[in-house]
Assembly symmetry: C2
Homo-oligomer: 231 residues x 2
DNA sequence: TATAATGAAAAAATCGATTTTATGGCAATG
DNA sequence: CATTGCCATAAAATCGATTTTTTCATTATA
């Protein structure tokens, strides 16, 4: 069962499944590693090393790099390869501002269209998130659960392009957030907000939910700013 | 002078210039042909024919196709190649709605940040647009001028990611609009609105300008709907 | 000393051929 | 008659080698 990819991985599922090509596998792996900050910001990628590191040939690797550049997780300069984008405070502010704008819109629409089935899924996603948060040593587990929770929250908004952009911004944002020093106090507030979001969403309290999501993103934004050095 | 490409062609300029690679050239050509509707919607692309048509080898061609899929102008299914996305009314509505939302936001910010230099550029862009419109036989000329006008209008908004998404949506929207039967009456109104937009922008009348841009997009939307058949 | 030219080494991009996977017709089976 | 299995064909994906372009240390020049 292969996945239609008008966008890199529109389904949100990892292409680790059966019919995955080498290109899509290395795309997923590279994407994760970029978001997790495994490459230094601003660094130039040595294609030769990537080839050996990810155990793929040149062609699928280059195809993956091209996708990532089009997606915005890499910069491509014409005869001089690929590099990791720098982390810039002004860009983070831009990303966070747009996230607020788009996710609040999506939330409004999701509260209008979401049905009973969605409510169950949202509760389930929140439950998984809490469980994962109880074992913070499993970082990737937590991150996955967190991503899925936010996806589930906005999923029924009815606008594929809106969701696409939100996903893209989320990936960009996470590059910053994951590199920032963690703030356990803020972290607790953020966790609490997840539960409150579920309550407000189920009760269809649009404006309150919007305000809370806005605050949620803004708090995260404050933490993520710690990833930036100079400008 | 090569261009940084965190996105396909972030500068808006054609990569026909000096340091262009085969991949970026065929990317530009394919992108234009897709937007111009030279391929039937839903059609599967025969990579072999593309190779001969665009006179490039397999590797650069595949890299271009991968970029286009990540950009959303192609669909990619894992072991069965690339196809042109179908034209769907609900998707067009989605695109138009988002365009309104994002472009109005950008317009507001542009009116706040735009300086005198920008005003000159806007006047110039509008002048070129009018001149191009006088020779409607030069369709591509008109389209280019039109695109540049809208780019210039929003350019100083100060948000690279917002501009990126707007550009992407604009390309998607144009796929529909260019295939729709032209409506000369509406066309005249749209042309008039361009001039009015310039006036309102220069006078920094934010809310009036927003309302007009919204109407502008909505009118275009009505025309573009003519490109859709069934759903 | 600063600047420009040079050329070897490294990296990016591309090509041609091979391998892998899907597709569609046809026979075999229930 | 519908369904399944099999093969030949076609297409997609990948590999290995070649070509092109950049990089950078070195030398020549003003």
């Amino acid at each position: 069962m292969s996945t239609v990819m008008r966008t890199p991985d529109a389904s949100g599922a990892d292409s680790a499944s059966s019919g995955a090509t080498a290109a899509s596998r290395v795309f997923d792996a590279l994407k994760q590693d970029l978001i997790r900050g495994r490459f230094a910001a601003g660094q130039k990628l040595a294609i030769g090393s990537l080839k050996t590191h990810y155990r793929v040939g040149l062609s699928p690797l280059r195809e993956a790099l091209n996708r990532l550049a089009a997606y915005g997780l890499l910069e491509q300069v014409n005869q001089r390869g690929f590099r990791v984008p720098a982390l810039r405070l002004d860009e983070l502010d831009d990303i966070a501002d747009l996230r607020s704008q788009l996710e609040c819109k999506a939330l409004t629409q999701a509260l209008q269209h979401g049905d009973a089935e969605w409510e169950s899924q949202l509760l389930a996603a929140h439950h998984r998130l809490r469980r994962a948060d109880e074992r913070p040593q499993e970082m990737e587990e937590c991150e996955q659960a967190h991503l899925r929770f936010h996806r589930t929250l906005l999923a029924p908004c009815g606008s594929p392009w809106l969701l696409r952009f939100i996903e893209q911004l989320h990936d960009q944002f996470d590059r910053y957030r994951r590199l920032a020093p963690p703030d356990l106090e803020v972290r607790e507030v953020l966790d609490r907000q997840h539960g409150e979001l579920v309550q407000l969403a189920m009760a269809r309290r649009v404006s309150q939910a919007r305000a809370l999501l806005d605050e949620h993103i803004d708090l995260s934004h404050g933490v993520a700013r710690g990833a930036c050095s100079a400008p």
